[in-house]
Structure formats: C-alpha cells, structure tokens
Subunit: 227 residues, 2 copies
DNA sequence: TGTACATCAGTGAACGCGCGTTCACTGATGTAC
DNA sequence: TGTACATCAGTGAACGCGCGTTCACTGATGTAC
C-alpha cells in the first residue's frame, strides 16, 4: 500500500471522527461542511476531494452510527445464553438505553426529527438500521419455539398485515406468528417511547430516578411479552 | 374597541396563522422571521412591532399547538362516559394518533428533536404541554377507585420515586399509587413510540396497514393496563 | 536509474443565498385641549 | 369642532453572519518508459 493510499485512508477516518465530534459538541445543526473543515484545519473546498456533497457526508455518518448502535446492543444481547429469553430481552432493552445515553446526539440524529431535504438512502444504511429489528424477530422466533404465546392480535382476520410477514420472510425469518411480531414491536415501541421522553421530553430533565423508572418500563415490556 | 386595537388583534392572529402555515408547508426549518414576513406581504422588520424576537414567536406557537392538541384529545376523551374506563383510554389513544396524523409538522415541532438554542419556557406552555399527562393521571385515579389493579412496580422499595408523587400531589392528584402511574406511563410510552415510528421511522412509509397496526398497539396497552 | 508526465491533496478567492436584527424614516390613526 | 401633538404600523436599506459549492491554481507524490 503506497503512501498516498495510506494517507487517504487516514484522512477519511479523520473526517468521520471530526464529523462525530461536531455532532457531539453541537448537535446536528453543527454538522456543516465548513465546520468540519474548520475542525480539520482544512479549507472547506478541500473536503470535496473526499466527499461529493454534504448529503453524501451525512449518509456515511448515518451508516456508521447505525452500525455502532447495532453492534453495541447486539453484543450485549449475544452475551446472554440463548435459552434465557427474558435475559436476552432485558439485555437488549438495557443496552439500548445505555447506548442512547452515552451517545445522545448520535441517537438523536438517527431517531429524531428527519433532517429536512435529507433522506437516508435505502442501501447499506437501511440494512444497518434494521439489524435490531431482525434481532428482535429472531428472539421472537425462539420465544415461540419455547412455547411463549403472545396475546396481542390484530383486530381483523388472521394475517391482517401480509406485507409484514412477507418482508420478514425476505429476511429469512419465517417461524414467527403475526401475533408474536406485534407483541415484540409493542415492547420495542414502549422502550423507544421511554427513551424519547428521557432524551427529548418535558420530564426528561428532572422529577425522578431515571434508572428505576426505566427499569419499571422494562418490567412492563416483560409482562407484556412473557406474561 | 378602537380601530387601531382591532387591527392589531387581527394582525396578531394573522401572524400566528401564517406561522402555522409555514410549518405545515415546509416543516420547522421554514419557521423563519423573513419567511413569515414574506407570507404576510410585510417587510421583515415590521414583525418586530408584534414580536420581540424569533424566540418569542416560537414560544407563542408552541403554546398554541400544545393547547390545540390537548383540546382535541381531551374532547375525545371527555365524550366517553366516565365509568367506561377502557373506552376512555381507547378514545384517548385514538385521538392522539388522529391529531398527530392531521398535524404532522405541529406534532413534530412539539415531540421531535428539541430546537437548537431554543428551550420551551416553563410557563403556560408547560401547563398546556402537561394537560394530557394529568388527564391520564385522573384516569388512573378512577381506574384504581374502580378496582383495576396495576401490576407494574418499581424494583426497589415502595415509593422509589418520591419526586413523582410529590409533583402529582401539587397538581391535585393524590389518590393514585406509584404502580398505577407507572402503568399508565408505560401505556403512554407505547403509544408515543408507535407514533414516532409512524411519523419518523424507517417503516413508517410502507409495509403495512397502519390503522390495523396502531389498533394492535392500543390493544397491547389495554392488556397492559386492564389485564 | 533518471527523466517526463499524470495524478492528486490542498489552497484561496469568489459565487449567490437566506438568515435575524437595527435604524432612521413616513404617513396614517388616535388623543388632549 | 378644530387644531397641535403623540402614538403607532409599516417601509427600505443596511449590518454581519454562516452556509454549500465552483474554480483555477500550486506543489508534492506516484508512474511509465
């Protein structure tokens, strides 16, 4: 590997790190081409040697952040023996919050208000963004196999949501009932709702012991899922 | 009432309407002083006769939006006979989504990523923002009085969260257990999580029949709360 | 191995844009006597 | 009721700012023969 290629890789790395630095220090509004250049002691136009536009920069950043989050949560989940279903769920839920609190701006970029005139492209970014959902779906498969029976069902007929089943099948997840999917999703929404409150909410700031509070929310999801 | 005062009131109203129009058409980034002036066929500086700064403008807007949302949801809730506890909850949950879908940008302004360098002041805005929480707390009181017993409890001792109880008491809500509060809040988070997904999320766009989906989520909250 | 040429990273100036806010002003509406 | 003055809504120009992106350029690094 020649010097030139090495240096290019180093710079690319540095750009990414600097971008995350901007995000951590100033939130998503700080994510500007010029700010990034300032941070790197470069002239703004220099960045266009590495990135075609601000949009492309954001795409790269999104992809990395999704990957980081999914890696972290998945590692916590995978550390639990696979027959301990409640433990897997609890590890998942706990890690989700841990990551969010350690990376509030990254979390916000991914989960908050979509950026105007920017849409996450449905490529690798999406495959990363979806990893945790698939993890949950697999947990759901295991739960059903172990005899956990979900109690949430859609109003209409069986298979009121064919698109959902089809999508899961396309991802290799076939042994799960619609009811289990909905139950898992309900748990996911409960956790996410709690995190939105903690990070954005009116109450997030004061009032209560947040660890105990979240713990109660995790218990709620357990009741919901495992009865 | 003299002509001058009348016209001032009309203009104030027009400013608010125009601001909401900007929001609806272009999202929160469109909420600029100059854009507002353009919409009103005024020169930007003219607005400073009515509003001290962009910040004040936002505060007024927040207050109105919170009020609108709370009015709408509360009306739906209050239309149900007060002894029909499940019906009250269901009406609340349904109206919450209805309002969100009819006013996605308003909903986003209130519930999405907090605006940089703007914090909602803890005045009337907060009293409006909190109305729905208090409504739920009262529903919780009624539920307990009717013998619905919540099954979620915080890990530690009784009253692991004294600040919460104290706050509710300051709002005139005293006959509710911590467990009931947490149960209600869990339901709230589940609904909000589902709405965040629908409005911001990766899946929001396609995949499924969203009405059926949300209905299943409401059922989940009912299971959680009423057993 | 040495030379001629091509590639590439980074510079510096400039573009057009929209933003929030200020200021001195004009002309119409309201008020006091 | 008529006049003199004060209040007020809206104007128009200007301020300083930061943004994303382009372009012609320099000088160092790499490549072909």
């Amino acid at each position: 590997m020649s010097t030139r290629a090495e240096r290019r890789e180093i710079t690319e790395r540095a750009i990414l790190d600097a971008a995350r630095g901007l995000l951590v220090e100033g939130g998503q509004e700080a994510l500007t081409v010029r700010g990034l250049a300032r941070k790197l002691n470069l002239v703004p136009s220099a960045l266009y040697r590495y990135v075609a536009s601000r949009e492309e920069l954001l795409t790269i950043l999104f992809s990395h952040i999704y990957t980081d989050m999914a890696d972290f949560v998945q590692a916590a989940h995978d550390a639990v023996p696979s027959d301990d279903l409640r433990g897997r769920w609890r590890a998942f839920a706990t890690a989700l919050r841990e990551w969010a609190l350690e990376h509030p701006y990254e979390w916000t970029l991914i989960n908050g208000t979509p950026l105007r005139d920017y849409h996450v492209p449905p490529t690798e970014t999406l495959t990363q963004g979806i990893r945790l959902h698939l993890l949950l779906a697999r947990l759901g498969e295991d739960a059903e196999a172990a005899g956990v029976h979900p109690r949430i069902r859609p109003e209409g007929s069986p298979s009121a949501m064919p698109g959902l089943k089809q999508f899961l099948a396309s991802q290799g997840i076939e042994n799960i009932s619609e009811e289990s999917v909905l139950t898992g999703v309900a748990g996911w929404h409960l956790l996410m709702g709690a995190l939105y409150e903690e990070l954005f909410g009116l109450f997030g700031a004061d009032l209560e012991d947040k660890d105990v509070y979240y713990d109660a929310m995790v218990s709620a999801t357990e009741k919901l899922i495992f009865g």
